[in-house]
């Protein structure tokens, strides 16, 4: 082990209490940042989950639609206009909307209805663990996610209740289809969705456009825009971006998460800076000796930065373990926290930067030491 690393580690570990305080500071800070960023990633994925799983080449959406949950409606005449456009093979309607679900044990809870063609061209439930999505074609058939059993008061195929005072029977159970608004998604047929949401028969929310084989998506899109008034034609990527922009930044949810993460990083930086500064202050006579015996500034910087990096590695490792436990514990909840390799790498780099920045105050302090203090008995 090089002497700079040895000196740094011994300085760091000499005062155990201060070392623990430093590590606790880094761990809390990084776990907080990790949770905030993990929630952000989770939200980011959840707000586009329907768009991600819809089998559409293009989306026809009401003009000005901000996100998938937007209540604006299209006219059913638009379907015929879309089908008349060369290159369009199908325009599959989707109806959505919030509506009350009667909890069998008493009371109601809001749910978000997603109704579409029950064949493979429509927006059908995925991650099916019980039942068959084709069963949703039957009257009153619905699909729910097992994450929301407790909230909905049902937990098995065949359980029934009422949605907007109309019968609903669980025919399909999925796993992991969660809404970032925490309002459960309920899948059903297009016709049933109209009844559950009270959507007028001549209205739908979206059309999923399937292109004919070989059709050019750009050309078809231009023709659709020219043929359909008061609508927008979006690629799935554009619709995703728009949904994310609305939910994460238009509503302030993303800003709140980022602010939390930023505060975590600031708190961590301050704690590490304070403890490094205090540790350096305790070892001033040693740094003065180093300067007296002719060490370069770089050598002294290396010792201090090495202390900071050791703190970063140890603190981050513990924080990553705790964060991983939180990820596992929240995986099956309605608010899962995600941890991706890129997020983990990013947080490690953030920890390193945070600790090195924290070392600056200590470095400035050491550079001000008068090496002549070594002659004071």
């Amino acid at each position: 082990m090089s002497l700079t690393v040895k000196l740094a580690s011994r300085n760091l570990f000499q005062d155990r209490l201060r070392f623990i305080a430093t590590i606790v500071g880094i761990v809390f800070s990084m776990v907080l940042v990790n949770i905030q960023m993990g929630l952000f990633l989770s939200f980011e994925r959840m707000v586009t989950t329907m768009i991600d799983h819809a089998p559409a080449d293009l989306w026809i959406v009401p003009f000005g639609t901000k996100c998938f949950e937007d209540p604006s409606l299209l006219d059913t005449h638009d379907q015929a206009l879309a089908l008349a456009v060369p290159g369009v093979m199908q325009a599959v309607p989707v109806a959505i909307g919030f509506t009350p679900w009667t909890v069998p044990g008493g009371g109601t809870t809001p749910v978000f209805i997603v109704g579409s063609s029950t064949d493979a061209t429509g927006l059908r439930p995925w991650n099916v663990v019980k039942g068959n999505p084709d069963a949703l074609a039957a009257p009153h058939a619905v699909a729910i996610d097992q994450t929301y059993f407790g909230r909905l008061g049902v937990n098995a195929i065949g359980d029934s209740t009422e949605i907007r005072e109309q019968k609903a029977e669980v025919k399909v159970i999925t796993n992991g289809i969660r809404s970032f608004t925490t309002t459960p998604y309920v899948f059903t047929s297009l016709e049933q969705a109209g009844e559950y949401t009270g959507t007028p028969p001549n209205r739908v929310s979206y059309y999923l456009v399937h292109l004919s084989p070989g059709a050019d998506i750009g050309d078809v899109r231009k023709r659709l825009v020219a043929s359909l008034p008061k609508v927008e034609v979006l690629t799935p990527g554009e619709f995703r971006s728009r949904s994310r922009a609305f939910w994460l930044f238009g509503t302030g949810a993303g800003a709140a998460l980022f602010t939390g993460a930023l505060l975590g990083a600031i708190v961590g930086t301050v704690i590490v800076a304070q403890t490094l500064y205090s540790s350096t202050k305790d070892h001033l006579s040693e740094f003065a000796t180093l300067r007296a015996i002719g060490s370069s500034n770089l050598y002294i910087h290396k010792v201090i930065i090495c202390q900071a990096l050791l703190s970063a590695v140890i603190g981050f490792s513990l924080a990553a373990c705790i964060s991983l436990m939180i990820v596992v514990l929240t995986a099956e909840t309605s608010l899962p926290i995600l941890m991706t390799p890129i997020l983990t790498l990013g947080l490690f780099l953030l920890t390193v930067v945070m600790c090195v920045v924290s070392a600056l105050a200590a470095i400035v302090q050491v550079m001000r030491i008068d090496p002549a203090r070594v002659f004071k008995a």
Binding site: S2, L3, T4, K6, L7, R10, N11, Q14, S285, E286, A288, T289, L290, R291, A292, I293, G294, S295, S296, N297, Y299, P371, A372, V374, F375, A377
Partner: protein, 234 residues
């Protein structure tokens, strides 16, 4: 002829600011030669330690010229002064200034490490120097496990391991009993016999006079006497 390793010409040094400003050195000139042990003696406040700091390029003089190994320190930047200290000077302090978290061997190695010498050869050299001060058996001991005399011997080993041509010692026996003080001075006198090294010891302690080849008396920032003599103590 004895070659000077450090040369100071007409050194003036003011310390402090405003009303507290005092002239610590008032035109001091001296040269430190290799192959001899020089004692710098004088009462408290006479300017001994200030002069030692200037000769060691830790302090810069208000005016005057200092040459270390032939290099003038006038106008030198802090990094250049640090390089001169690293290459030419070994310090021994009254309170040792060892690193409490490093063992004796690592404390000695540190002087090589700051010079960029980190090979196995550096470790062997540090061990050899520890042996010359009689501490081979204590190389793994931490400062808290060593007596004052042993700590000072480690500090001397640290000062000489880099082949410094000037050893500047500030009251090296000041914190030691007479037996340990005698041991330390014997080691320093032995080092001073090396024709490539000069040793300057700042002291109040009259018991170490027999070790000196040269005795300089300083008082009130001026050299009062500078006499050479035959050392008898080593």
């Amino acid at each position: 002829m004895i070659a000077p390793v450090i040369e100071a010409v007409d050194i003036v040094k003011f310390l402090g600011d405003g009303a507290g400003r005092v002239q610590a050195l008032k035109g001091v000139s001296l040269s430190l030669a290799c192959g001899e042990l020089t004692l710098l003696m004088g009462p408290s406040g006479s300017g001994k330690t200030t002069l030692l700091s200037i000769l060691g390029s830790i302090l810069t003089p208000t005016s005057g010229i200092v040459r270390i190994g032939g290099h003038s320190t006038v106008g030198a930047r802090p990094a250049a002064l640090a390089r001169l200290r690293r290459d030419y000077i070994g310090f021994v302090f009254q309170t040792y200034h060892l690193f409490p978290t490093l063992n004796a061997l690592d404390n000695v190695r540190l002087a090589l490490d700051v010079r960029g010498e980190r090979s196995d050869r550096a470790i062997a050299k540090a061990k050899a120097v520890l042996a010359t001060v009689g501490l081979s058996h204590k190389q793994d001991a931490f400062p808290s496990e060593l007596s004052g005399g042993e700590q000072q011997r480690v500090a001397i080993a640290r000062a000489i391991v880099g082949d410094a041509s000037a050893i500047l010692a500030d009251e090296p026996t000041g914190a030691l009993d007479s037996e340990n003080g005698h041991t330390i001075m014997t080691i320093l006198a032995q080092i001073a016999k090396d024709p490539a090294r000069g040793v300057l010891v700042v002291t109040h302690d009259p018991r170490i006079l027999p070790f000196a080849n040269r005795i300089i008396h300083i008082e009130d920032g001026r050299i009062l006497s500078d006499e050479r003599r035959e050392a008898a103590g080593a």
